[in-house]
């Protein structure tokens, strides 16, 4: 009896099955992923970076659905590996300012004219420079993979639904545009099949050229049909807004964006630190006011908007915690996060930062479990 009660109590805390009500807010997934990304950007320790990637990978595998966008994680992982490879290759070919003593090999150097001084092609390759390139590439790759994790976990259409009213219609256009890619892939498959039916080879440049035009035509026709359907269903209905309000909206939005740009520049450039912050703040405020006013033109209401509930806060909070802890660790013990390249030493996994990254695993336990996919997928029509 007591064990039953214990199970019931445990059951209350277990993650529920995901449905529309309790789904984690897409914004929360992005905050979590950006937190991991900030943490990754603060270190070049390959062990910590691998840990960040492993954490994101575990959460993705535990909580992704089988929707089309959820398959993008692997693509981002591959992209990350490519980035590392390119970084190392460039370092090998073009040399590096890192002074090194472990000479691995010497490539034949291409003699360059006088005006190209400072650029080197070929020449000696040292272990230090390769390790430095590897660490640097790994950091970039980890950032990309974190973005990939957010992509895989957050439904892009739902995310765009959270945009302010003034931007909603742009958002719908973007979502419709995004459905293009999968449709075009399906078209290509269908037309390649049709080529085979006419007894022609399905590969080769000629085949691509002949398929290309019908695919583009099909995509265009579909977009016109969707546009007609959206128009007939009331897309773009707007309320009457006084002219003065419309003008103010434009001025606020444009002025605000300019302010944001100038302010960011000021913050980043060394000499403008004084005026950067206030300008940025003023710009943001004006832009927000512009969007608010712009929202008045829109009649739209929202059907069952995503709620930022307790589980969403936990997901977003875990990402923020990882970022904060890593920044703090970087100020306390920078050597642990940036293993020395010159002289070359083996990196060690620092205990506390590693534990901090592990906080990012929280969503794998608190986010609702996606429901199993329906077994039936009538896709066979497309094959013929």
């Amino acid at each position: 009896m007591s064990s039953g009660a214990a199970t019931a109590r445990w059951g209350r805390w277990r993650a529920p099955e995901a449905d529309r009500r309790n789904a984690v807010h897409p914004g929360a997934w992005w905050l979590w992923a950006l937190g991991l990304a900030v943490a990754a950007s603060r270190t070049t320790n390959p062990l910590l970076l691998a840990l960040v990637v492993a954490v994101s990978g575990y959460v993705v595998s535990a909580r992704r659905t089988d929707a089309p966008w959820a398959r993008s994680y692997l693509a981002f992982v591959k992209l990350g590996l490519l980035v590392i490879a390119v970084r190392v290759l460039f370092s090998t070919l073009l040399g590096s300012p890192i002074p090194g003593s472990h000479l691995l090999l010497t490539l034949p150097e291409v003699p360059l004219p006088q005006w190209a001084q400072g650029i080197r092609i070929g020449g000696p390759v040292t272990a230090e420079q390769l390790v430095f390139a590897l660490y640097d590439g790994a950091k970039l790759a980890a950032l990309l993979i974190c973005v990939g994790a957010a992509n895989a976990l957050a439904n892009p259409a739902r995310l765009l639904k959270c945009l302010p009213g003034a931007l909603y219609e742009v958002g719908v256009a973007v979502v419709v545009a995004m459905t293009f890619a999968p449709n075009m892939v399906a078209d290509v498959a269908r037309l390649r099949t049709a080529r085979r039916l006419r007894g022609r080879p399905t590969g080769g440049i000629k085949a691509i050229a002949q398929i290309g035009l019908p695919v583009l035509e099909g995509a265009l026709e579909r977009s016109v049909a969707v546009a007609a359907s959206m128009d007939a269903r009331g897309y773009g209905r707007s309320a009457d807004v006084p002219r003065a309000v419309r003008r103010t909206t434009t001025v606020c939005t444009l002025g605000g964006l300019l302010g944001v740009c100038a302010g960011s520049y000021g913050l980043l450039a060394a000499e403008g630190a004084g005026y950067g912050l206030p300008l940025l703040a003023a710009g943001l405020a004006a832009a927000v006011a512009g969007l608010r006013l712009g929202g008045r033109r829109s009649l739209r209401t929202r059907y069952r908007p995503d709620l930022f509930g307790a589980r969403s806060w936990l997901v977003a909070g875990s990402g923020a915690a990882v970022a904060a802890l890593m920044i703090w660790a970087g100020s306390v013990n920078p050597e642990a996060l940036h293993p020395s390249v010159v002289p070359l030493v083996a990196p060690v996994l620092p205990l506390w930062p590693a534990l901090a990254v592990a906080v990012g695993l929280l969503p794998a336990f608190v986010a609702p479990v996606p429901a199993l996919a329906p077994a039936v997928t009538p896709v066979l029509k497309e094959s013929s």
């Binding site: 039916l197 009649l299 059907y303 039936v376 997928t377 094959s383």
Partner: protein, 563 residues
């Protein structure tokens, strides 16, 4: 509810109006059916109601169309969105969001309804259309009938007074079509919605209509009347009406039920007449075209390196033995067996997703069997080079346009001759034989559905394949184009071609097929002579069989010859 005042529509750069002299009123709360041959402007007429013609398509609209008192001249489609709901021919092109529930809510969101109202209406609509189970499903995973119901639901939620539908059941199997029609029936009866719908498959819909608008020909003024009046004069009509006209029944029956009540005398007259058997499959007179001489040696090697195909029964065009095809976790076909004799026409039937297209794909070598064997003319299709295979088997896909790449009909024919190594002009001659009057210089996109099908059929026939496969050939064809297709295919069968049709069209199967194979969930559930298989089946019996059961009459032609 909808008033047309002397409406005519002329598209830009068109020599004559697409629609002319439309002057009629569609009363509130009626189901009005729009009929007529292809190309008379049915879609244009529907478009004027939602305002998409001319606001979206361009062109000039003369006269005036008012819907619930709003003039479409001054109201753009988005301003009519709360009174008119439109569903086009292809439901996939209609969807804006990615799940069923969001799709149902989309129109209401655009109109700015309160969240509580939206929630209530979504739940009501889910129940009304039987979609509650599917509410969280991605639209991409739905079947054809489910998609059509979601499309209708998505325009119903804003509670429009008028529903405009363009061929809502053409792409559906008979059961799914019934589903959709039952929903429309309910809307008209329970909610008082006015429904205006165009449809080619009159045998499915005409009995539900309160009134029928007939567009007799291009540029001719429409005729509005009760279904029985209009059907008595209409050039397009379902088999039940053809039988009624033949037997001189007055008033004309529109449903199988009405006709059966009248048919007692006819059944008696026909009782002693033997039902004409479909002509027995003739001796093969068609040998595969000779292989091209250059590279013949290579071809010989390739063929010999392929595994020995199944020992097909002597004389068979193709044989399928215990064929299983699995895709991912889904078994699309399970231990299917089929032998096809020369000159035989076989109809493959079954609901959407039953495995018809998969079987055709396997026969034409697009799919590798998971287990079992397929042999066509002694070859294993998926191991045979495409250039060789087109001499053995040809498939006209569901969308004939997929087969066409060139800019003109002439270029398309030349390419087909080259592909099949046939003498120049072979394909062009075939096109003229199948459907005279297809211009050489026309772009394949500008052809009518029937012309495009004829062109695709000619391209496939250029290789003289003994086995011809057609996937859903009558989609979008009117009765005239369908009758022509039937004649063409009968001619081909008489020449010794084996023909396999995957189709939902029971009337077509009744006219053409010697044999019917019914698939369900990837398994063969029935395989036998057409009359035996379809007469006993409620879903697959043609109208004439239903009327004259238990006698084995299938088509009006048979009855006419017998009388």
């Amino acid at each position: 509810m909808i008033r047309f005042d002397a409406v005519s529509v002329t598209y830009d750069e068109a020599a004559r109006p697409a629609l002319q002299g439309v002057d009629l009123t569609v009363p509130e709360g009626e189901l009005v059916l729009l009929v007529g041959p292809s190309g008379v402007g049915k879609s244009t007429l529907l478009g004027t109601v939602s305002g998409l013609v001319p606001h979206f398509t361009g062109g000039t609209l003369r006269g005036r169309v008012t819907v619930a008192g709003r003039d479409t001249r001054t109201h753009r489609p988005r301003e009519l969105a709360d009174v008119v709901g439109t569903v086009g021919q292809d439901p996939l092109a209609h969807f804006v969001t990615d799940t069923v529930e969001d799709e149902l809510a989309y129109g209401m969101e655009s109109l700015g309804l309160a969240p509580a109202v939206m929630r209530r209406r979504v739940e009501e609509t889910l129940d009304l259309l039987g979609l509650a189970e599917l509410r969280e499903r991605p639209i991409a995973t739905l079947s054809g009938g489910q998609r059509q119901r979601v499309a209708i639901g998505s325009v119903l939620t804003p509670h429009p007074k008028v529903l405009v539908l363009d061929e809502p059941t053409s792409a559906l199997d008979p059961a799914a079509a019934e589903e959709v029609l039952a929903v429309l029936q309910r809307l008209v009866h329970d909610l008082g919605t006015t429904v205006l719908m165009a449809e080619h498959r009159l045998e499915r819909v005409v009995q539900y209509a309160d009134q029928v608008i007939l567009l007799p020909g291009p540029g001719q003024a429409p005729v509005l009347g009760t279904p029985a009046e209009v059907m008595a004069v209409s050039p397009v009509h379902p088999p039940v009406v053809a039988l009624g006209r033949l037997a001189g029944w007055e008033p004309l029956p529109l449903s199988v039920r009405d006709a059966r009540r009248r048919a007692a005398a006819l059944r008696e007259r026909l009782a002693d007449v033997p039902v004409p058997q479909p002509t027995a499959a003739p001796e093969p007179v068609l040998a595969p075209a000779p292989a091209p001489t250059p590279g013949g040696r290579k071809g010989w090697f390739r063929r010999s390196s392929a595994p020995a195909a199944v020992p097909a029964p002597p004389g068979a065009t193709a044989a399928v033995d215990r064929l299983t095809v699995r895709r991912g976790r889904i078994t699309a076909l399970h231990e299917v067996g089929l032998t096809l004799a020369p000159g035989e026409t076989v109809a493959l039937m079954g609901r959407n997703g039953a495995g018809k297209s998969t079987l055709l794909s396997a026969l034409v070598g697009l799919l590798e069997p998971t287990s079992g064997t397929v042999s066509v003319g002694g070859l294993t299709p998926y191991r045979t080079a495409p250039a060789e295979l087109i001499r053995r088997v040809g498939l006209v896909p569901q969308e004939p346009r997929d087969l066409l790449y060139a800019d003109t009909v002439a270029a398309e024919c030349e390419a087909a001759d080259a592909d099949a190594n046939a003498p120049a002009g072979t394909c062009r001659a075939l096109v003229d034989e199948l459907l005279p009057g297809v211009p050489d210089t026309a772009h394949p996109r500008d052809l009518s559905e029937g012309q495009r099908l004829a062109l695709a059929l000619a391209l496939v026939l250029t290789g003289r394949p003994p086995l011809l496969l057609l996937d859903e050939p009558t989609r979008g064809l009117d009765y005239a184009a369908k009758a022509r297709l039937v004649t063409v295919l009968q001619g081909l069968a008489a020449k010794g071609h084996t023909i396999v049709l995957a189709t939902h069209d029971v009337e077509l199967a009744a006219e053409l097929a010697h044999r019917v194979v019914i698939l369900a969930d990837g398994e063969t559930v029935a395989d036998g002579p057409t009359a035996e298989v379809v007469v006993s089946s409620p879903a697959f019996a043609p109208q004439i069989a239903k009327i004259l059961a238990p006698q084995h009459w299938l088509t009006v032609t048979q009855v006419r010859e017998a009388l």
